[in-house]
């Protein structure tokens, strides 16, 4: 188990190195640079800025500096937020995205398991069809539509009530988080529901379930210890990627609800060609994703004792 973990971590490190290098090459290959703005700079002013940011040095030297700093965990100073380092940005805004992400993941996972199971147990009936229709709807409608719609509904609700029942936007209290977390998690919830339903349908009529029933176990016990536990594996598999996805991919939701999360900074950095922020956040996200995938692989072993990660082939 330890060897396997170390091996996975080593490979993960290599992956992160490739991500970093590819990002460095990509941001320097596209036309445009972080210093260009709506007003053109005089040559002497551009020269001063290039010197300040080290952009006057050859690209290879810049790459060397970038890798060296990265090893020390220093991603440099943002070009657009000139008083803040990339580390400041991650420290201030990642917890916000993570809180939002975890809350929406909670919605998604619990809702997905609940609705997926209901739908599978009641398959073919009206409630199953309703759930599946809503699932398709939630998967197809992009989050920016859901976000705008949700916000507008809250606004109408507040108007109708003549009081602020739920905040339209903003961040700070749990009340602020509910709507954005729901909107952000809805797509994942729908996806999890479908996954849960189909994998549960596969196990409901397995021999061991029939055996359990023949033994006279209660339906509740059968569901939890025989059906759910066997069916939940695919849902756990995608969870790792979804954690990374949902805690980092909330750009639209963050913008619509004025939430100071990391996603907004990432997208903004891409638009502004903010080299340091793009590279820093890509490496950070990359590392996060790699870690989550490793974590999920390790969790497999706990959920399903048949999978012995340590004894996997070469």
């Amino acid at each position: 188990m330890l060897r396997y973990t170390l091996k996975r971590l080593g490979l993960g490190l290599l992956t992160v190195y490739f991500i970093a290098t590819a990002t460095f090459v990509a941001v320097h290959a596209v036309p445009g640079d972080p210093l260009s703005g709506a007003k053109a700079l005089r040559p002497e002013i551009r020269a001063n800025l290039e010197r300040k940011y080290g952009l006057d040095r050859p690209l290879v030297a810049q790459y060397g500096v970038f890798l060296g700093n990265m090893l020390r965990g220093d991603f440099g100073i943002s070009f657009t937020q000139q008083n803040r380092s990339v580390n400041d940005i991650i420290r201030d805004h990642f917890p916000v995205s993570a809180t939002l992400g975890l809350l929406s993941l909670f919605f998604a996972a619990s809702g997905g398991i609940l609705f997926g199971s209901l739908s599978a147990l009641l398959r073919g009936r009206f409630s199953d069809r309703t759930v599946m229709f809503l699932v398709i709807l939630c998967i197809s409608v992009p989050s920016f539509v859901l976000a705008a719609l949700g916000q507008y509904l809250v606004l109408r609700l507040n108007h109708a009530a003549g009081a602020s029942l739920l905040p339209v936007a903003g961040w700070g209290t749990l009340r602020h988080m509910l709507l954005p977390a729901l909107v952000l998690g809805l797509g994942t919830l729908a996806f999890q529901t479908r996954l849960m339903r189909s994998s549960l349908l596969e196990v409901v009529n397995q021999d061991y379930v029939r055996t359990a029933r023949a033994k006279g176990l209660s339906p509740v016990r059968i569901f939890f210890s025989h059906q759910l536990r066997n069916a939940i594996l695919p849902a756990v598999t995608v969870l790792g990627v979804e954690i990374a996805d949902i805690t980092t991919g909330g750009f639209v939701v963050e913008t619509v609800f004025a939430i100071p999360g990391l996603g907004r900074y990432f997208v903004q950095a891409l638009q502004q060609f903010d080299y340091t922020v793009i590279m820093g956040l890509t490496v950070f996200y990359g590392t996060f994703l790699v870690l989550m995938v490793i974590l999920v692989d390790l969790v497999y072993g706990l959920v399903d004792p048949r999978i012995k990660v340590a004894k996997e082939g070469p």
Partner: protein
Amino acid sequence: MIRILSRTRLLAVLTTGLAACSSAAPPPSGKVLRLALTDEPPQLNSTRATDQESGFLLGHLMEGLTRYGKNGEVIPGIAENWQIDDRGATFHLREGAFWADGRPVTARDFVFAWRLVVDPANASEYAFIMYPVRNAEAVNRGKLPPSALGVSAPDDHTLRVTFEQPCGYFLGLTAFPSFLPVREDFYARKKDRFAADAPDILSNGPFILTRWVHGAALTLEKNPRYWNAARIQLDRIEVPYITKDLGARYNLFSDGKVDTLGLPREQLDRAQADRLRMQIFPDGSVWYLAFNLRPGRPTANWHLRKAVQLVFDPREYVSRVVGIPGNRPGLSLIPYWVPGVKAPFRVEYPLAPVRPKLAEARRQLDLARKELGGRLPTLYWLADDSSSSARDAEYFQNLLRTRLGIDLRIDKQIFKQRLAKMRAGEFDIVAAGWGPDYADPMTFAELLASWNENNSGKYQNAEYDALIRRAQATAEPKVRMDAMAQAERIALADVAILPTYERTLVWAHQPRVQGIVRHVVGPDPDFTFVSIRE
């Protein structure tokens, strides 16, 4: 201050609105103004700030030698009075001006800040705005030490400035953020953290920054030590939201959570249905098509440009394409609001609009065709990815095809790549805009000088350059205005650019808020005159 001239800037700072419709929440008690910002202010270090958001905040946190009054006039700030002549200026600072920590604002604070602006190690993008001050350019180029800058403090309350050459608009510059004071000991103590967070900013203006949650919220509280604190009626300015999302800002306004709202064209219908009391604000910017005049480009041909000009009707364009009431059809490079010698420049130097003449346009097109070797080349229009940019491009594509049979291809790029291509000259026509840095025709007239980096079409005319140099070499208003008016006529006769419109923005505010002042130059909007109706 600096305008980010993207067409999508919709009252960057403002999210306001008037709810004739019922607001959900009761307004807060006390004299509090609440706003939503579009962007996190990127930089509150006045020696390096360049953007609108930062300029707006600095205008409320700080005070320079002068500031802008209710009607956009320059009024005394930290300086009580001054003398300006061709060689320099002397400012007499008031005795009662204090920093928020209780220490007096002195002339040395200005000397320190101004030297920092031109210090190449500080790499200020706006260092050039200081170039009228003696040696500023040489210092910024690293040829002289910052101490060589032509500014000194003979005593605590006297600031002496020497000019590089006479400067007819220097007074207005002293209200510009780059000219704000910075106290040396505070700056030295904060080092790289200067202005990075709320405690790292030292105010001397109407408000102090008491809270700054990055990306989320700011709080500005009335500064009791501001010399003119009696004038400020607000207790607090709250910025509880920062978001680019237009719909969210509208909803927040409608929910009674913020007091101001900028309205883009897309929301005018909704605002009308909600019966918001809309206001218009001509923001002072000029929009035009820049033709690429680099040799070898088809648009380097005068007849071709003339033909385009002769089929274009700015009045129709403003009503059909811009589509926001109050916008003025483009007439010239220098907009109508800019002051001249005594009256507005445009009144003193009137221009007749060019009306569309199809027959003449086709005649010019024939001449162009001959000179270009018998056939008309395809023209490339450089656009960005905003919806207004696409609207523009498609309008001209249709206009040139139906009236002149010219094939116009749209080259759509993301903002930064559009800039790169524009600067590299990879276009025939590009729509551009310019907002003023100060209230003088020079802020526009210099745009088409051959040495100006923002002259994207690379217009070069020795006569034009000479006239701009002449206007820059004197502070004599009549001589300057005459020269700039003549230069403008030359550029228009050359069809170096095709003016399209002078922009007006639409906005709204909650009825309980009174006295919001909008500035064409200087920090905008200005909330220092605001009172709250309980």
